[in-house]
């Protein structure tokens, strides 16, 4: 039954990814590397899987959803804060790296046309890789994270222009575009001027952005507020919104990423974006895993051995030259040494677009197979190294700053704004219903340090406690509340699953936990997990009834 071919492919991808991921966790390899290795094993090494249309579609969905998620993380203020810097740094970096790449390729003996393609290939950084890494560290909201994402979006705009031009240039470009993992804008007519396409791209961006902004302001709040109580409805509406923008972006000759990103930003202005992010995250995790495995499947490394010198030089340009460019520009824009450094090393890898550029070059007869493998090797090396650099970036900074080389860049090294340390020895209250509110009040009266978690922003407003908006079963939320060092977690929730997971997690962490067994039928299950205290509210209620009866003189 060939209908089930998709299950076989996805099954292999998921199994490969899981096995590699579990193995990778043992030796602290970042997830991205694990996925790419899984792809290499499934594709080029064993030949179990070729790249197929369905997998391409899934990859494409993964990129779109990831950017949607990035958009959801950003509020307008935070973009406005780094917008100008991102533009300056992004363009400066693109020009510098492209020039460096071009020069180095000429010196290595490539034809000028091929050198130009290499220059393009090393210039752009991978949005997907960077965002995934930053997200894993929870750093998308930090200043350096926002700068890095800003620069990436500027690069994306440049990429759109370049691809528009290249598809026009390549004689058989169309065919290559169809095989590429990322769709190309389909209106790359031959001979269109740079100025014109630049204008079109910016006009498109402006139109989309304006529509998104206006919608977020005047149109969306009502229907989304109305739907907020129905989880699936809300989720599907948000995804539809995302895909409408993707289609609009494609129609305007922009990339899928930009459309999804703008859709995300507009929804981020609504009060429900926390819940939405929580819902989109697993979907992104799944599709992005498929994306990276597919990327691995694509790579052909066979003929790269002949070009080892070029591979080393180009990798060095990406890993050192690109951060160097940014490290020169960012301090001039007023950022501190640490922030500049962290933003800079974040962008030290090549992008999925580099492979498209390579494919186009091959189709146009400018490159041969071996050269394409060269780009593949540079990709693997730089993505691998940069995923380590980003994962351990604070330590890398400390190590390098100690040597004093960073002083050459003349950035301010003043003490960073110290972020408040995580709470310790506190009480975590989950769920602000009638019970949660009472408990919160009582704990505050007792002089306890309290952290409150709830999904409803309106319940959390103006509380005299540390508040965390989000779902308490999320590891990220529990980590933010520093549950591991809490003296007690109390859940007042009347949600069976959430309570069970909280009980289990706290028990595993050895943190005392008290759970609301809102129905006596749940007592057995919760006791089995191991809780320190159960709030059996209905029993307490009956005791209160008995007390009332006593007061009424019924019983002695």
């Amino acid at each position: 039954m060939e209908q089930f071919e998709i299950l076989r492919q996805l099954g292999l991808v998921v199994l490969g990814a899981t096995v590699c991921l579990l193995a990778a966790r043992l030796v602290r390899v970042p997830a991205i590397m694990a996925y790419i290795v899984a792809g290499l094993v499934l594709g080029p090494v064993t030949g179990l899987l070729g790249s197929t249309e369905s997998l391409e579609q899934f990859s494409e969905l993964g990129i779109a959803l990831l950017l949607f998620l990035v958009g959801l993380e950003l509020s307008l203020e935070s973009i406005r804060g780094v917008g100008r810097s991102a533009l300056v740094a992004g363009i400066g970096q693109v020009v510098f790296t492209a020039a460096l790449g071009f020069g180095a390729s000429l010196l290595l003996g490539f034809e000028p046309a091929a050198a130009a393609l290499f220059a393009l290939a090393v210039t752009f950084s991978s949005t997907v890789v960077v965002v995934k890494l930053l997200d894993q560290r929870g750093d998308l909201g930090r200043l350096y994270g926002r700068i890095a994402v800003g620069v990436l979006l500027v690069q994306d705009l440049v990429v759109v222009l370049v691809l528009t031009l290249l598809t026009g240039l390549g004689t058989a470009g169309g065919a290559a575009a169809a095989e590429a993992p990322v769709p190309l804008p389909d209106d790359g007519g031959t001979g269109r001027g740079v100025v014109e396409s630049l204008g079109r791209a910016f006009a498109g961006m402006t139109v989309l952005g304006a529509v998104a902004f206006a919608a977020a302001r005047w149109v969306l709040p009502r229907p989304f507020g109305w739907l907020a109580r129905s989880l699936e409805a809300f989720f599907i509406w948000s995804l539809t919104w995302c895909f409408l923008f993707i289609i609009a972006a494609e129609a305007l000759g922009l990339s899928v990423e930009i459309g999804a990103f703008i859709a995300g930003v507009s929804l981020a202005q609504l009060p429900y974006n926390h819940e939405l992010r929580r819902r989109v995250q697993p979907l992104v995790n799944f599709f992005i895993a498929v994306f990276f495995v597919t990327l691995g499947i694509h790579m052909e490394l066979g003929a790269a051995a002949d070009y080892w010198l070029a591979a080393i030089v180009l990798s060095a340009i990406v890993l050192l030259g690109k951060p160097l460019a940014l490290m020169t520009i960012l301090p001039r824009l007023g950022y501190s040494e640490r922030t500049s450094f962290l933003s800079s090393i974040t962008l030290g890898q090549i992008s999925e677009f580099s492979f498209i550029v390579g494919a186009l070059g091959l189709a146009a007869g400018l490159l041969d197979d071996g050269v394409l493998s060269l780009i593949g090797v540079v990709g693997i090396v730089t993505i691998a190294v940069s995923s380590y650099l980003v994962t351990y970036n604070d330590r890398v900074y400390d190590a390098i700053a100690r040597t004093g080389v960073l002083r050459w860049f003349g950035a301010e090294t003043g003490p960073e704004r110290s972020e408040p340390g995580p709470p310790r020895g506190h009480v975590v209250v989950v769920g602000l219903n009638a019970l949660g509110r009472r408990l919160l009040r009582a704990f505050l009266e007792r002089g306890e340090q309290v952290v409150v978690i709830d999904t409803d922003p309106s319940k959390l407003e103006g509380l005299p406690a540390t508040i965390i908006l989000g779902n308490a079963t999320d590891e990220a939320v529990l980590a933010e509340a520093n549950v591991a060092e809490a003296k007690l977690l109390v859940s007042a929730l009347q949600i069976e699953d959430a309570n069970a997971l909280l009980a289990y997690r706290c028990h595993a962490l050895g943190v005392p936990v008290s759970i609301h067994a809102f129905d006596p039928a749940l007592i057995g299950d919760l006791e089995e997990i191991g809780v320190d205290h159960l709030i059996v509210s209905k029993h307490d209620g009956i005791r209160q009834v008995a007390a009332e009866l006593r007061r009424a003189g019924v019983t002695a």
Binding site: V14, L15, R25, F235, T240, L283, N285, A500, I535, E548
Partner: protein, 520 residues
């Protein structure tokens, strides 16, 4: 991307209408798909992918729900009700299908499709009405689990039937082997998932489990649906299932939205004959299931209202029926029209469910029901204490009252509670505490005190109006409900306060309060 956007936009509209009209989403998603087919805009993109992945994830999710704990208290009754209902409805469905002119194998498929009720619809309905923990809900959930299990065990048998009995038996044996594997994992390995360091790893392990089971079932020559379902069963252990659900929810929502719309588009616009057949079979489900379940539930000790409610709740066919139909279609064992009939029956019965289970219908049936309440002979006439629906929770209170020589009447609809009271010879009425007839029978208007643990505000209002002049203690969770209870002359007992106090007692005991530490 256009096709995908179109499917999603269709789903978005269906969800909005479902939200607006308070209907289950599945039939509306199917209708949207039908609409697409009628307009001739069936997106080819992702068609197979969404069908195959949608069905797989749906069954996987069903397997994850297969947690017998929820119905533990009513397990034995659920087993009896479920088995009898399954067998009788299947028989009736088979006969009706043959009478409508379908072939043997087609009739078997139709019968199988009719027997399963929708876990999705029922649990959503119970959750929204806040009734998931009431005895009749536990009964219904227990029956649902049994139906899913039976249908999915029978699929491999049915698909192998044309190859002869031997093949069917081999299929059954292979299924049992896979079940054994699922339960072994369930028991010994599944909690390891909770040790995964982050949600990404959890998600991948969960999906890998799904695909391993699909792979094995394929190797054993079993339908993939069986593998997907049993993969879910392997992860259904509490609290693993909670973690799995959290990770899988949005992926499931995404693909099931695509699945139902695509399925609707695949059905296309049905002919008049198909619609007629579907209406007949839908009528069979809606008219036969409630009395069947009600009668067996009452025989097993349930009182009128919960038995009726359980019966009405189960009167629809399931998303599993759609998968059964789809599987038969792909395997070439049933034709397009049989598949259409199955889909339409599901569509009709699911749309009807919210209406069929509405309070109005329940009351109308209650009124014409001869055995709506059963009581012990001896009911005190006045000056007594009436305990309304406190179930097992109320037992300690009851004991205190009896020990001090009070006259008490207990009204409850949980058969397990009533059995115990009858044994102890406590005056009790088995019936619904919101039924005025029952309240009259308990002489509630002449009681000294009434204690109500009824949850529904409307029922409490009715009680307060009925028993004016009697002290009525009304147990509520939220202090914000205290106002209207006082206005109607009742005494609110806000049990979140009581619970908080109890919790704090424990807290002060275990953790020396900071303030005290400062003083010392």
């Amino acid at each position: 991307m256009q096709g995908l956007a179109l499917l999603l936009a269709g789903a978005a509209i269906a969800y909005a209408v479902a939200h607006w009209l308070d209907l289950p989403a599945v039939p509306l998603l199917l209708l949207t798909g039908l609409g697409f087919a009628a307009l001739g805009i069936v997106p080819a993109e992702l068609l197979e992918t969404s069908l195959v992945l949608g069905a797989t994830l749906l069954l996987f999710a069903t397997g994850i729900e297969l947690n017998p704990r929820r119905s533990r208290a009513q397990r034995r009754i659920a087993l009896r009700v479920g088995t009898i209902q399954f067998v009788l409805l299947a028989a009736a469905g088979f006969v009706a299908a043959v009478a409508l002119g379908f072939g043997r194998l087609e009739a078997v498929y139709l019968a199988l499709a009719l027997t399963a009720s929708s876990t999705l619809v029922v649990i959503r309905l119970l959750q929204r009405r806040g009734q998931l923990f009431e005895p009749f809900a536990r009964l219904a959930v227990g029956v649902l689990l049994l139906q899913d299990l039976l249908v999915l065990l029978l699929i491999p048998v049915v698909t192998k039937l044309p190859e002869g009995i031997g093949a069917a038996l081999i299929g059954l044996a292979a299924t049992l082997a896979l079940i054994a594997l699922a339960f072994a994992l369930h028991r010994w390995a599944s909690t390891r998932i909770l040790r995964a360091r982050d949600s990404e790893t959890t998600l991948l392990i969960v999906l890998a489990t799904l695909f391993v089971f699909i792979g094995i079932s394929d190797a054993l020559g079993l339908p993939l649906v069986t593998g997907a379902f049993l993969g879910g069963v392997a992860l259904s252990r509490f609290p693993v299932n909670a973690a799995v659900r959290t990770q899988l929810a949005s992926i499931g929502d995404f693909f099931s939205a695509l699945f139902y719309v695509t399925l609707g588009a695949l059905i296309g616009v049905p002919s008049g004959a198909v619609v007629l057949q579907a209406v007949v079979l839908a009528a069979l489900v809606v008219l036969l299931t409630p009395p069947l379940v009600t009668i067996i539930a009452e025989r097993s000790g349930f009182s009128g209202r919960p038995a009726i409610e359980a019966g009405l709740l189960l009167a629809q066919t399931s998303e599993i029926s759609l998968v059964v139909g789809l599987y038969g279609l792909i395997a070439g064992q049933i034709g397009d029209d049989v598949f259409r009939v199955i889909a339409l029956v599901t569509l009709i019965t699911m749309v009807l469910t919210p209406f069929v289970t509405s309070d109005r219908i329940v009351w109308r049936l209650m009124r014409s029901h001869p055995l709506r309440a059963r009581a012990t002979a001896r009911i005190p006439s006045s000056g007594h204490i009436v305990l309304l629906g406190s179930g097992t929770t109320g037992m300690p209170l009851l004991e205190t009252l009896l020990a001090t020589g009070q006259e008490v009447v207990v009204v409850d609809d949980d058969p397990v509670v009533i059995d115990r009271l009858l044994e102890a010879d406590v005056p009790c009425i088995r019936g619904d505490a919101s039924d005025l007839e029952v309240l009259r029978r308990a002489n509630a208007d002449r009681a000294r005190i009434i204690s109500s643990t009824i949850r529904r505000p409307r029922d409490n209002r009715r009680l307060l109006e009925f028993a004016r002049g009697v002290t009525v203690l009304v147990r509520v969770f939220d202090e914000r409900d205290a106002g209207w209870i006082r206005e109607l002359g009742g005494v609110p007992v806000v049990y979140s306060e009581a619970a908080a106090e109890e919790m704090l007692k424990w807290f002060d005991n275990v953790f020396t309060p900071v303030a005290a530490r400062r003083e010392s």
